[in-house]
Symmetry: C2
Subunit: 285 residues, 2 copies
């Protein structure tokens, strides 16, 4: 479809599935990009990847209550439907699926998907129930939209690994594509939660990527000791007055398990709180 | 297909999915009857129902290790593949799917479906993890076989309610049909586990149905007090020397929640141990 096209907005689950079944009936493949809205350039890179790999692109916008814990930012999570529709209007998006929480999680809802192991470390330690909420809603979206493929960002690395594992373990017929992290010039990874930062906080937040890069550089220079590498990163965060560090860890790139020595393919992952934002970022060794 | 036909046996997941996709491509609907083998007349009634409601019938035979707890009868669970193939040969079964445990649950498998609430009472109290194993393998079978409908027996009433709930909550495109309990002349519900019973135990086991029937008769005669009704059933079990009663409960027929007064549509459910068998049965008020 052309740019600035009128995009179909779908709210009901039945209409969404009908749309997908029609598209498939005409031999078209469907790519789903699941989002919580507040779309930024990172999301748009997912949408471009979706468009390059399927005939039909569906973007879902659903701020999933099940993946927010008590005291988290569910109620202030930024919503900008007008801006979102303008953003997707510039791309080959065929439908925007915006379901209601009442239809996704009706009274009596009680079924959850748990990717045990992978969900129980890193962010899982700090956000109990978060990944259960993610896996569950993603599986539901797959079952409603019936996509051949779905695109996820590598910024949410643990989420990506959990979704890939879920797809494999549950024998889902969906290919998962992942798209590299999009960064500001400062190195700060794009995130809807960057909106919570003041200018000063944003400037300090860019040290997260500097810390990741410094760890990677030291690794490339021959340092393999995990504690030494982690200390290099932590030092950079602390010197930028980032001291609410949930974790800075070097983990196996697939299982997210702890490693004795740093190795190529390991992931360096950071979660830290700056002001009222909890930011995550990662880099592959 | 005609009776006593040669039935296709499928072992690999890829071949199973390929078979299903071919059938669907030719416009045929698929019914799945998930079993653990050791087929008896109860299973055959499910197969007949499947054949009456879809073009293609797939029977899966998989003794699911994830639904047996420690100390349960996984290792002695009866397997009779030759007998099973003879049984299904008499019906319109198009394929028997017999996957290996290694392919269903490969190394690193870690994703589970939990139907919270419904799975946490009655048999769930006595068999921790059992229903998690059931829901997970059924969802996997759905995703591999891609059936339009699946048939479950009403004897496993809690399982039926859990599967129905899972299908609804996860937006699965599978219709769930249920088939009434098949009984011996004595009233004993058919079960693969009846094989564990001696003649004397079998005769005592038939009092389970007499207990259920007595509860129902009293209800129909006007008795609505749950405790009184339960006592009527328990008395019959005890007088037949069935004293390892896991439960005899009257519950809401959908939520399986406790009820204050017995009502039409409630379910009376029994689980009891006789010899080395744990038997379940139920009746609707």
């Amino acid at each position: 479809m052309s740019t600035n096209n009128i995009i179909r907005t779908i709210n009901s689950l039945a209409e969404m599935r009908k749309f997908s079944i029609e598209q498939k009936g005409e031999g078209r493949t469907i790519a789903l990009v699941p989002t919580m809205g507040a779309l930024h350039e990172g999301h748009l890179s997912l949408i471009r990847m979706a468009g390059a790999n399927a005939d039909v692109v569906v973007v879902s916008i659903f701020v999933n209550p099940k993946q927010f814990g008590e005291g988290e930012d569910f109620n202030k999570y930024k919503s900008d439907l007008k801006g979102d529709m303008e953003s997707v209007g510039k791309y080959n998006v065929d439908a925007v699926f915006i379901p209601s929480a009442e239809e996704i999680f009706p009274d009596g809802f009680q079924t959850y998907v748990e990717v045990t192991g992978l969900q129980d470390n890193l962010c899982g330690d700090f956000r109990p129930g978060h990944f259960r909420g993610v896996s569950t809603v993603v599986l539901k979206l797959f079952n409603i939209v019936l996509p051949e493929l779905a695109v996820f960002g590598e910024k949410d690395y643990q989420q990506l690994k959990i979704i890939q594992r879920m797809v494999k373990d549950l024998n889902l017929s969906v290919s998962i594509l992942s798209s590299p992290i999009v960064r500001e010039e400062s190195g700060l990874a794009l995130s809807s939660r960057n909106e919570y930062l003041s200018d000063d906080e944003k400037s300090r937040a860019s040290s997260i990527y500097r810390a990741l890069s410094a760890v990677k550089e030291s690794f490339k220079s021959g340092e393999k000791d995990v504690k030494t590498l982690v200390d290099i990163g932590v030092k950079i965060l602390l010197s930028n007055n980032i001291n609410q560090i949930d974790y800075l860890e070097i983990r196996d790139g697939e299982t997210l398990g702890e490693v004795n020595k740093a190795n190529s393919g390991n992931i360096v992952a950071i979660a830290a709180r700056i002001g009222s934002a909890r930011l995550i970022d990662n880099i592959k060794l």
